[in-house]
């Protein structure tokens, strides 16, 4: 049990990692520190068994997918998520964890039953900010930053849509925040704002994972093996 309280986390605090292979992981770590969470940079697959939740940050999805494969993360990440670890992908992170992409590549990890279109709004010159109403986030709208952003074009059974951008001009309404169980995905970048509410929502999922007795027993079995 002592290993559960490692990494300086208090018994109440979930242990959160941010995948630090490439992208804006430092911004996520900063946002978590603003709400009292000391997150770790995850660069090695062995670290996955020491955390309750992981964020896959914004970055280049082709690069992150390649690095995850290169450094043998794929199988272990899948088994951790299946046994209840919380996971949140922002922008590139959403692409990485999707079931399927509208593009021929990269091949995503299929950790969340969604179909995703990359660069949906266009190139960098079409990137934008907007206000977004998000299910489960109390209070004012969130300022959402979309940078060469993907959107969810199709969701599988049990995937909850938390936010959509409405139909505008020739574009239909599209989902930009989704959740199933403890897996969360957003098209936009809460880490580039000062609004920590999405991060708080994710911390709750990681807390759930931390107190999940089934998951804990799996973890203990593993450490014995």
């Amino acid at each position: 049990m002592s290993s559960l309280n490692g990494d300086g986390a208090t018994p109440q605090q979930p242990r959160i990692g941010v995948l630090a292979l490439q992208g804006d992981f430092a911004e996520h770590i900063h946002m978590l520190s603003e709400i009292g969470i000391t997150a770790v940079e995850v660069r090695k697959v062995q670290q996955l068994s020491e955390i309750d939740g992981m964020i896959i940050p914004g970055g280049e999805s082709t690069t992150i997918v390649k690095l995850l494969g290169m450094f043998d993360f794929v199988d272990e990440l899948r088994s951790q998520v299946e046994s209840g670890m919380a996971l949140w992908g922002t922008c590139a992170g959403m692409i990485v964890i999707a079931r399927e992409l509208a593009d021929p590549y990269p091949t995503p990890l299929n950790l969340l039953d969604i179909r995703v279109a990359r660069n949906y709004f266009g190139r960098q010159v079409d990137s934008f900010e907007s206000e977004l109403e998000i299910d489960g986030v109390e209070g004012d709208h969130m300022r959402a930053v979309f940078i060469r952003a993907p959107i969810v074009i199709d969701t599988g059974i049990g995937v909850e849509i938390l936010a959509r951008v409405p139909a505008i001009d020739d574009r239909p309404e599209q989902a930009v925040a989704v959740k199933k169980g403890r897996v969360l995905a957003t098209s936009f970048h809460p880490e580039l704002t000062r609004d920590t509410r999405m991060h708080s929502l994710f911390v709750e999922l990681a807390e759930e994972a931390r107190s999940d007795s089934v998951r804990r027993s799996t973890e203990e079995t593993r450490s014995i093996v």
Binding site: A20, L21, Q22, G23, D24, F25, A26, E27, R43, G58, G59, E60, T62, T63, K66, L67, M70, F71, C91, A92, D103, Y105, R118, N119, R123, Q124, V125, D126, S127, F128, E129, S130, E131, E133, I134, D135, G136, V137, H141, V145, F146, I147, R148, I161, L162, A163, R164, V165, P166, A167, I168, E173, H189, L192
Partner: protein, 313 residues
């Protein structure tokens, strides 16, 4: 369902009104650079090279007609690349595409923006078009990256609207020494500003020839207001890791990939090294069996008049 209020035509109208989605504003421009952090941006001269770079895990490619070492060898006036070449590379890859405009050549920049280039490098590698003025980068939706040798130059470019800074180094040499010098200088200047009492900041701004407000921001945050990469002479995985350990946030590799004996392997290795820059065991593995790095020329032996880094101010 909270999203119900944004559904339907009235919801769409309301969303449009409250969002005022402005493309190309500051956070969106600087934000793309944030996404490139921990990554490698590679110079490419053909769509095929762009694919090799993307497959190796480059976060972005710089589309140009000749890599800096060829520009240096050929001499003559170096200009913006042919739009056909840039469009061909844009069509070949899904990662962001950068392209270079000459210093001060705002019409080349307008053309690059019209082509849909994701980032413009107002670059000393090309022959400057203006001896006095850089481009007013605020006028574009397209973000800019600019070279710098010290904090004054970096903050002047940011003051003009650059959303990303890179060291100048000495492009096309394969010699890391000037990139190291510039990265260290910028970081030393930042420490100097951060550790100085507030009453000294105005005089520092005068000495650095930098906008006062940006000097104050560096004092407050201890870092540049935008992402800071290294460029100019990186030729091996160890070079990339060296700059990362010194404290930059990612690297540009110009001639170093496609002037090496095995570009795909070198590209892959530099990508790995930029991620695991702090892990000597991994770096040792990564550095094995890469073939020859680009031949290179010793940058300290280049007369000042022939240096690219002295272009711009």
């Amino acid at each position: 369902m909270a999203t119900s209020t944004t559904n339907g035509p009235r919801g769409a109208q309301r969303w449009k009104e409250m969002s005022k989605p402005e493309v190309g504003d500051w956070r969106v421009k600087g934000g793309l650079a944030q996404m490139l952090k921990g990554g490698v941006i590679m110079d490419v001269v053909t769509p095929d090279q762009a694919k090799i770079a993307e497959d190796a895990g480059a976060v972005s490619v710089m589309a140009l007609e000749r890599v800096p070492s060829d520009i240096r060898r050929d001499g003559g006036v170096a200009r913006m690349s042919d739009p056909d070449l840039i469009s061909g590379i844009i069509d070949a890859v899904s990662i962001p595409v950068m392209a270079k405009a000459r210093i001060g050549h705002f019409v080349e920049a307008q053309i690059l923006e019209a082509l849909g280039v994701d980032y413009c490098d107002e670059s000393e590698v090309l022959t400057p078009a203006d001896n006095e003025y850089h481009i007013d980068k605020w006028q574009y939706k397209m973000p800019y990256v600019c070279g710098a040798r010290n904090i004054g130059e970096a903050l002047r470019r940011i003051g003009e609207g650059a959303a990303m800074i890179r060291t100048k180094g000495e492009a096309g040499t394969g010699d890391i020494v000037h990139a190291v010098t510039h990265a260290r200088q910028i970081l030393a200047d930042i420490r100097n500003i951060q550790n100085s009492p507030t009453e000294e900041l105005m005089s520092m701004a005068r000495d650095f020839q930098a906008p006062y407000e940006l000097v104050v921001e560096v004092h407050r945050t201890g870092k540049l207001p935008v992402v800071n990469f290294a460029a100019g002479g990186i030729a091996t995985p160890a070079d990339a890791a060296l700059l990362m350990q010194i404290g930059v946030e990612g690297v540009f590799v110009g001639s170093g990939i496609f002037k090496s004996s095995n570009p795909a392997k070198m590209a892959d290795a530099i990508v790995r090294a930029t991620t695991h820059f702090n892990d000597p065991d991994m770096l040792a593995e990564i550095s094995r069996g890469l073939g020859d790095a680009m031949p290179g020329i010793e940058a300290n032996k280049i007369p000042v008049a022939d240096q690219l880094q002295t272009r711009g101010w």
